[in-house]
Amino acid sequence: MLTMKQLSKVYRTHLIETHALRSFDIDVREGEFVAVTGPSGSGKTTFLNIAGLLEEFTGGEFLLDGVSVRGLDDDARSRLRNQKIGFIFQGFNLIPDLNLFDNVDVPLRYRGFNGAERKRRIEHALERVGLASRMKHYPAELSGGQQQRVAIARALAGEPRLLLADEPTGNLDTAMARGVMELLEEINGQGTTIVMVTHDPELAQRAQRNVHIIDGQVSDLDRNVTLLHTAAHKPVAMSA
C-alpha cells in the first residue's frame, strides 16, 4: 500500500541543511495498522506529510498503492490525496463555520461527486461514527472526542485505501482516546490500512505493528520487526 525506499528529505535554507529523513525504508501492506513512534524531532511528522503527499521528498522512491509519486504535479498529488488517503489530525481540524454535514462534505466536493452521492456518503460516514443525529450541529457544540469522530467520518467518507492519523488522541482525555482508538481498530478491521503517528506507547501497542523513527531513520530493531511482519502479516481482529 505504501512503500518508501531509501527516501530522504532535506530542508534547505541559505545557511543550513536539515536532514529530516534519510535512507528511510518502510513498507506498509494493505490492511495493516501501523503505529509510528519516535521522539520529538525524529521525523515522524515529515514521514506523515510525505506519506500523505502533503510534502515532496528529496530523494529515494515512494510508491503509493503501487504508483510512483515522484514527479507528480500539484494537481495530480491533490487528486491522489483526495481519492486514496484519509487524514485524521491531532487538533481535529474541522472547519468551525460549517456544520458536521458540511465538514464531512469538504473532501467529497473536491472529488466531484454529485449531491445525492455526497449526501449518501456523509450520512453513512456520520452513522459509522455514531453522530448521524447531530449532523446539523457545529464543531463548537461537540466534545473533543465527538469532534475527532467527525474528523474520522470526514476521512472515511471518500472511502480511502489509506488512513493517516497524526496523534489522533493527543488532544483527548483517556476515556475519549479509548473510544477513538476503538473506532480506528474497527475501521482497520473492515480493511482500511491505517498509519498512526503517536507518542503514546500504550496506543502504539494496540497497533498491529510499530515502526520507531530515530534521527530520520527507521531504527534497526524495527527494520527487523518490519521484515518479520511483512513476512507473516495477518489483519488484527476487530475490537469490541
Binding site: G52, L54, D74, S78, R81, F89, D97, L98, D105, R154
Partner: protein, 410 residues
C-alpha cells in the same frame, strides 16, 4: 461549486460581510450617479453650437463717451472689419453663442395667452448671422437686405418682424409639426406683443449659456431678429477664411480703435475660447467628482483587499486542511474569488436600490433625466471587477499555502 458552504460561512461572519457590502453599495450608488452627472456634463460641453467655431471670433469695443450716432458708428466698424483680408462676413450682434451673457424672451403662440410657450435666447443681428456664424439653414431662407430694421431706441414692442429660429425652438413651439416657415407667434402677449413670422429655420444655434441654463432643455432654443439697435458696447461676430483667423483678429483690434476716439477694446475671443470658458468650471467639477469617486473606489478596493487578506490570514490552517483533503490550488483560488463575488454581489444589489434612490434626488435637483440602466450596469461591472482584482492577490496567496500546514501545530 461551493456556493452553499460559502454562503453558510459568510452567514457566520456577518459583520465583515456587512462592512464590505455596505462599502460596495455606497460606492456603486455614488459612482454610478457621479458617472452619470459627469457624462452629462461632458456631453453638454461637447454639444455643437451650430457655429463654424474654428473660423469665428467675437470682438467688442466699448464707448466711454457719448456717441452722437451709434448706428453710424456700427456701420463704420462693420466696413472696417469687412475690409480686413481673410474676413468673409461680419455681423453686429447683441450676444454670441456660449458668450454667457445675453437676452432671453418669452414667446407666445397667441396674443391672449397668459403663460409663454417657451423662453428663448433672442439674437438681434444687423446683418446675416447665418453667414457670419456659418449656421446651417434647413428650411426657408436668410433675411433679405430690406428686412433688416434699424431702431434708435428700445422697445420694439408691436413691431411685426420676420425671424429665423433654431430647430430646437421650433420643436418646442410646434411639437406636432415638421414644417415651420410661415408660422406666426408673438414676443410678449396682449396688445403690445410683436408679431413674429418664421422665414427660416437653422439646424442648431446654441444659446449664450449653452445647455442646462435658464430653463432651456437643450441649450439650443434660439431665435434671430433682423434688427440693429444702438448700444454703448457694440459687439461683432467675424467669420474668416479657414486658417486666417489669427491674422484677421489682430487686424480687427487695430481697425476698431483709433487714438482719441473715446473707445476701449474688450479683449476679443475666438469661439473655441468662448466654449472653453463656458465649460471650464463644468470640466473642473467633473474631474474633481471623477477623482473623488476614483478615490472612493480605491478605498473600497482597499477594504476588500484588507478583508480578503484578513480572512486568508485567519484561515491559514483551514486552507491547509482543505488542501490536505484534496483541494487543488485552483480550488482555493476559486473559493476566495467566489466568496468575494458573493459579498460584492450583496453590496451591488443594495447599491442598485441606493443608486436609484440617490438618482431620484439628483435628477430632481439638477433637472437631469433618470439614470440610464446602462450606466448602472457599467458601475456594477466595474465593482465586480474591482472586487475580483482586489481579492486576486490574497486569493493567490491562499492558494500557495502548503497542504502540510494542516499538520503543523503552530
Amino acid at each position: 461549486m461551493e456556493l452553499k458552504p460559502i454562503l453558510k460561512t459568510l452567514l457566520r461572519n456577518k459583520i465583515g460581510v456587512a462592512v464590505i457590502a455596505t462599502q460596495v453599495a455606497l460606492t456603486l450608488a455614488i459612482a454610478s450617479n457621479v458617472f452619470y452627472i459627469v457624462a452629462d456634463k461632458v456631453s453638454a460641453a461637447r454639444q455643437p453650437s451650430g457655429v463654424d467655431e474654428a473660423n469665428v471670433f467675437r470682438i467688442r469695443a466699448a464707448n466711454y463717451r457719448d456717441v452722437a450716432d451709434p448706428l453710424a458708428q456700427q456701420k463704420r466698424d462693420e466696413a472696417a472689419l469687412r475690409s480686413i483680408p481673410g474676413v468673409q462676413q461680419v455681423a453686429m450682434v447683441n450676444q454670441v453663442p456660449l458668450g454667457q451673457s445675453g437676452n432671453n424672451s418669452g414667446f407666445f403662440l397667441k396674443r391672449d395667452q397668459q403663460q409663454s410657450t417657451t423662453n428663448c435666447a433672442t439674437y438681434e443681428a444687423a446683418d446675416s448671422l447665418v453667414d457670419a456664424l456659418g449656421l446651417k439653414l434647413i428650411e426657408g431662407r436668410d433675411f433679405t437686405p430690406e428686412e433688416y430694421l434699424e431702431f434708435t431706441e428700445y422697445p420694439t414692442e408691436g413691431q411685426p418682424l420676420p425671424v429665423i429660429v433654431s430647430e430646437a425652438m421650433a420643436r418646442v413651439m410646434y411639437p406636432e409639426e415638421s414644417r415651420y416657415v410661415g408660422r406666426v407667434f408673438y414676443q410678449g402677449n396682449g396688445d403690445k406683443a410683436s408679431e413674429l413670422r418664421i422665414v427660416g429655420v437653422v439646424e442648431t444655434l446654441s444659446t449664450p449659456w449653452g445647455r442646462t441654463s435658464w430653463g432651456s432643455k437643450t441649450g439650443g432654443e434660439s431665435l434671430v431678429m433682423p434688427v440693429r439697435m444702438p448700444t454703448m458696447s457694440p459687439q461683432y461676430v467675424v467669420r474668416t477664411e479657414p486658417g486666417r483667423q489669427s491674422e484677421a483678429l489682430k487686424a480687427a483690434e487695430s481697425a476698431l480703435i483709433q487714438p482719441g476716439d473715446g473707445r476701449i477694446l474688450v479683449p476679443a475671443n475666438t469661439m473655441l475660447e468662448l466654449r472653453e470658458h463656458r465649460y471650464r468650471n463644468d470640466y473642473f467639477l467633473s474631474s474633481m467628482m471623477a477623482t473623488m469617486t476614483g478615490l472612493l473606489v480605491l478605498v473600497t478596493a482597499t477594504g476588500i483587499l484588507g478583508m480578503a487578506s484578513f480572512w486568508v490570514g485567519q484561515r491559514r490552517k483551514q486552507i491547509g486542511v482543505r488542501r490536505a483533503l484534496g483541494a487543488r490550488r485552483s480550488d482555493i483560488l476559486r473559493y476566495y474569488l467566489l466568496e468575494n463575488f458573493i459579498v460584492t454581489s450583496i453590496g451591488i444589489v443594495a447599491g442598485v436600490v441606493l443608486a436609484l434612490v440617490l438618482n431620484q434626488l439628483v435628477a430632481e435637483s439638477l433637472q437631469l433625466s433618470r439614470l440610464p440602466l446602462s450606466d448602472l450596469a457599467i458601475g456594477m461591472a466595474m465593482l465586480w471587477l474591482v472586487g475580483q482584482a482586489a481579492t486576486f492577490a490574497p486569493a493567490r496567496r491562499a492558494s500557495q499555502i502548503a497542504p502540510a500546514t494542516a499538520t503543523r501545530s503552530v
